[in-house]
């Protein structure tokens, strides 16, 4: 199964509650980076997530954390060889009212996606935010403001100054 096929199958399972986030969403918005799994955000409790998956014959397990900065739960599973994670839409900052449909996939709009990446705040996440801000100059102030709110401005600035990233994503 291909990545987008797995994402479509998961969206069907959670219809209309799920949105695709992570690397697939980034790819649709133009960020060229490899991803090996599907990330989905849903507005459901983890028990309900597992129950829905199991009712469709998909095995899944919940991992929980009480560490500060961690997501309180993540549901992990595999669908025809493709790994996936289901996350809490609320915790990753995805609002159900800002959903867009692109290439048949339900995605957060580009600003909500950038917020979710700043909440995650890792190097790859800030790479994606910087790439989007370079591609869409009108989003640059928003990216900086959001990164500052989530205390990851330094990482963003470092990626914004990255020569290879600028060559790749700044419009001609």
């Amino acid at each position: 199964m291909q990545l987008d096929g797995a994402a479509r199958r998961l969206l069907e399972v959670f219809d209309p509650d799920g949105v695709v986030i992570g690397g697939i969403c980034g790819a649709v918005y133009g960020v060229e980076r490899f991803t090996r799994d599907v990330d989905l955000a849903v507005g459901l409790e983890p028990e309900m997530v597992v129950a829905r998956l199991q009712s469709e014959g998909i095995e899944a397990r919940v991992s929980r954390s009480s560490e500060p900065g961690d997501l309180s739960w993540v549901v992990h599973g595999e669908i025809e060889g493709v790994e996936f994670q289901v996350l809490s839409a609320k915790e990753v900052g995805v609002d159900g009212s800002t959903v867009e449909l692109k290439a048949g996939l339900r995605l957060p709009d580009i600003k909500s996606f950038m917020i979710s990446k700043c909440i995650a705040g890792g190097q790859q996440d800030m790479h994606d935010v910087a790439a989007l801000a370079l591609m869409h100059s009108e989003l640059e102030p928003f990216a900086r403001e959001t990164a500052e709110q989530h205390r990851c401005q330094e990482k963003l600035e470092s990626w914004m100054d990255d020569r290879r990233l600028r060559q790749k994503y700044l419009p001609d």
Partner: protein
Amino acid sequence: MAYMTKMTRKKRELMAEIERSESLSIYQLAKRTGRNYRRVYDHVQEFAAAGLVQTHEEIHNGRRSSMVESEYHQRLNRLNDMYAFRAGIHAA
């Protein structure tokens, strides 16, 4: 980008449908938008000439279909290719 005649409301709506949907044939696109096949075909050709969409032929049940894909589909296809390539290396 190549020259394209004016982006009318009907063309914008058609483009939005292409971007929203999974990969569709021109026939499916005409049916979904309730428009004339020939008119949709002509608009798709204009979009393709302007680099806004890509078209390719597929054969379903022995019938040839012209499939239409937006830049969003093309980006997903590239990601799928990367994934398949890495999965192939991993399996070898």
